[in-house]
């Protein structure tokens, strides 16, 4: 029955694709959360995406038409909206997806309907692992990719005994898991792990006290959004910095929250695929433009949207305007962006990018800023059971 469905979708996809190929116009379905807990991320990705189109799509000769849909961070709703974008609005390519749950929900649909999807955030390892698809290209990051290098780096710095804390959901487990795996491999020891109920934990006091009692040398954590702010503020208020330095996945001290954390975030060392202070000309231009149009510094979410737009434009420049050719071209984009040299791993369709290890420090006039401690070389994720045909090279 699955087959008949796929066949039906394929048939429909071909018809719609044929129609849209006639007009020199690419319909982009922008599928992001504009309400709910991740609304700020959705807005930032959209801002970056529009800025990217503005910068790179001059003299493209193809009109790019954006249709926005709100996932409300709800997998079922995200899938319904993805179907609407494809079946009704004739989207040639989908861009967006913040939460891994939504990505998991729409994966089979976009794969079956053969619609290219540019993932601009969701990092679940399976999406470019065992559930990978030639139609899904990820321009953001994978959960393991961001944290594995940090495990090795910390071990190299001589940190031996670490306690970990994380939000108890799939992404949290993968982020901390990626770190743990690499850290133990490099000779480190995990002395204990705590998991806090996701989006139900307001007070991290009990968990911090446990971490402290563990006698570990350092603390590695993953938190994002409101939880990241609460956690860093509470970590600081307990005076933990004196006994147990804080390391983490870079989302903890994202540019998006670091102003709310203020001095509490001073000295926290984290790893991420982007920092606003990255020293390269593309980034300088991007940061300037983003500040001019939005009025604040961009975060990793902004750059993910920006690079997604650039990848789309580069794919269109190869002459691709229908679904099949766009999907194929997207798998082969590579460019120097604000994050450094980006390329797509043909084996998994995940982005290959350098990882920054950075310390959050207080900068001029009280604002917090990022001091890059190391730029770890880009490496491809292991295939994790991903099997798919290689892209057709032009």
């Amino acid at each position: 029955m699955r087959k008949t469905l796929t066949a039906a979708l394929t048939g429909l996809a071909t018809i719609l694709a044929a129609q849209s190929a006639l007009a020199e116009r690419v319909n982009v379905g922008l599928l992001l959360p504009f309400s709910g807990v991740y609304a700020s991320l959705g807005n930032e990705i959209e801002a970056g995406f529009r800025l990217g189109l503005e910068h790179f799509s001059d003299d493209l000769g193809v009109e790019i038409n954006i249709i926005r849909e709100d996932t409300e961070v709800n997998p079922a709703n995200g899938l319904a909206r993805a179907r609407k974008l494809v079946m009704q609005d004739g989207a040639d390519v989908l861009v967006g997806i913040v939460s891994s749950g939504v990505l998991g929900a729409i994966r089979d649909f976009v794969h079956g309907a053969q619609v290219p999807l540019i993932v601009a955030n969701a990092g679940n390892d399976e999406a470019t692992g065992e559930r990978c698809s030639p139609y899904i290209t990820r321009l953001s990051f994978s959960n393991g990719q961001v944290n594995r290098p940090m495990g090795r780096w910390m071990a190299e710095q001589g940190v031996r005994r670490v306690y970990t804390l994380g939000a108890d959901y799939a992404a949290g487990r993968q982020m901390v898991g990626g770190f743990t795996e690499a850290f133990v491999e490099a000779g480190g020891e995990i002395v204990g792990q705590g998991w806090t109920p996701f989006q139900q934990t307001q007070d991290f006091g009990p968990y911090l006290a446990q971490a402290r009692a563990s006698g570990a040398e350092a603390l590695f954590v993953f938190y994002a959004g409101g939880e990241a702010i609460s956690f860093v503020n509470q970590y600081d208020s307990f005076g933990m910095a004196e006994v147990m330095p804080l390391y983490g996945s870079g989302f903890l001290t994202s540019q998006l929250y670091v102003n709310a954390q203020g001095e509490s975030a001073n000295g926290v060392i984290t790893s991420l695929h982007y920092v606003p202070t990255a020293d390269n000309p593309e980034n300088t231009a991007f940061v300037e433009a983003f500040q001019a149009s939005i009025g604040r510094l961009p975060s990793e979410y902004g750059v993910q949207g920006y690079d997604s737009a650039r990848a789309l434009v580069e794919a269109i420049r190869t002459g691709a305007t229908d679904r099949e050719s766009l999907a194929n071209a997207l798998r082969q984009v590579s460019f120097e962006g604000p994050r450094g040299a980006l390329s797509i791993d043909p084996a998994t369709n995940n982005v290959i990018q350098p990882i920054f290890v950075y310390e959050t420090v207080s900068g001029e006039n009280g604002a917090m800023t990022q001091k890059v401690l190391a730029t770890l070389p880009a490496e491809a994720d292991p295939a994790n059971g991903c099997v798919m045909p290689a892209p057709v090279t032009n």
Binding site: D70, P75, L79, A80, R83, G101, G104, A105
Partner: protein
């Protein structure tokens, strides 16, 4: 006893023909919305049965629906059962769970009842959120739709599926009506109006409540099975208390304790949500204002408002006295 006035029949006919008309004229997304409305309608019918007629305001119905969806998907994909068998088992499971929840909560009233059902619902949510066997917070893929090939219907076609849901909704409506007209339904009405008196008359009150809650749970389970087949993906979000809260809003918005009203509410709510979310990301604000306005009009929801307009004056006065008494009684229970 529950009876249908001519107005209710008229509303049912309009709703039914509206659904049929949409099913044969709408484009792709219109069909999706129609199906969404039909499945929500089943859920709110189940909720109206307990909340509107039994005074048992439940915040566990979203969880019961989700449980039905999870049980169906797990049995159909992990255990490899035939979809019909899996669906029947899933409905039996939600009926049983509903019965147990109803039995345990039967002694509580008002806000305490709401909170007790909330506790059970959230336990279910947390369970499925954390169980990696059921995909954790990432959810599960792969439920198949029913195979109606033997009568020449392919449910993978979205129109066929919408009509299938409409048929199921129709059957459930008739079942709900039959329940309300049966001895059980009359006992339930008696319990809602005066629990002490019914107890003094020798009625096994908790049993009545548990039975009705179990039947309602079965209906919620059916909604869950259909939702899983419609979306072809399930996640713990379905079990979250906000889903139950939204269903409750739909019931009250449409008209509590009228069976027809919640159907009207489901149509109004889903259409309003989809139309507004295109205009503004702040559509909750407008929905909230509409809710407040509807309640401030002092009618029993949208349908109650319509009924009040069409009813002779004397009848209206009796009704308003009755609602006031009912309200007092419920407040007293709380």
């Amino acid at each position: 006893m529950f009876r249908h006035t001519p107005l209710r029949y008229a509303a049912l006919i309009i709703l039914f023909s509206g659904a049929l008309f949409t099913a044969f004229t709408a484009g792709y997304f219109g069909m999706e919305i129609l199906t969404e409305i039909l499945i929500l309608a089943i859920l709110v019918l189940a909720l109206d049965l307990v909340a509107g007629f039994g005074g048992m305001v439940s915040l566990a119905h979203g969880a019961l629906m989700g449980l039905g969806a999870y049980a169906f998907v797990a049995l159909a994909t992990k255990a490899g059962l035939d979809p019909w068998v899996a669906a029947s088992a899933a409905v039996a499971i939600t009926a049983g769970t509903g019965w147990v929840i109803g039995a345990i909560c039967a002694r509580s009233h008002g806000i305490y009842f709401i909170m007790a059902t909330l506790a059970f619902g959230q336990m279910g949510y947390s369970y499925f959120f954390e169980q990696s066997f059921f995909g954790g917070d990432d959810g599960m893929v792969g439920p198949r739709r029913f195979d109606l090939g033997f009568i020449g219907i392919n449910l993978n076609d979205s129109r066929s599926f919408a009509l299938f849901c409409l048929a199921i909704l129709g059957v459930i409506y008739l079942v709900a009506m039959a329940i309300l007209r049966s001895g059980l339904g009359r006992s339930l009405t008696g319990v809602t109006h005066n629990e002490k008196r019914m107890r003094a008359l020798g009625l096994n009150v908790w049993r009545v409540k548990a039975d009705v809650f179990g039947l309602s749970g079965a209906m919620a389970g059916i909604a869950g099975v259909l939702a899983a087949q419609h979306i072809m993906f399930i996640s713990p979000k379905m079990l979250h208390w906000t889903v139950s809260g939204e269903a409750l809003v739909v019931v009250i918005l449409g008209g509590l304790g009228t069976l027809v009203g919640p159907l009207v509410g489901a149509v109004a709510f889903v259409v309003m949500k989809h139309e507004l979310s295109h205009v503004t990301t702040y559509w909750h604000l407008i929905v909230g204002l509409v809710l407040i306005a509807v309640v401030m009009s002092r009618a029993n929801g949208i349908f109650g408002f319509i009924e009040a307009r069409f009813r002779p004056k004397t009848d209206r006065m009796i009704q308003s006295i009755q609602t006031r008494d009912d309200a007092k009684e419920i407040a007293k229970d709380a």
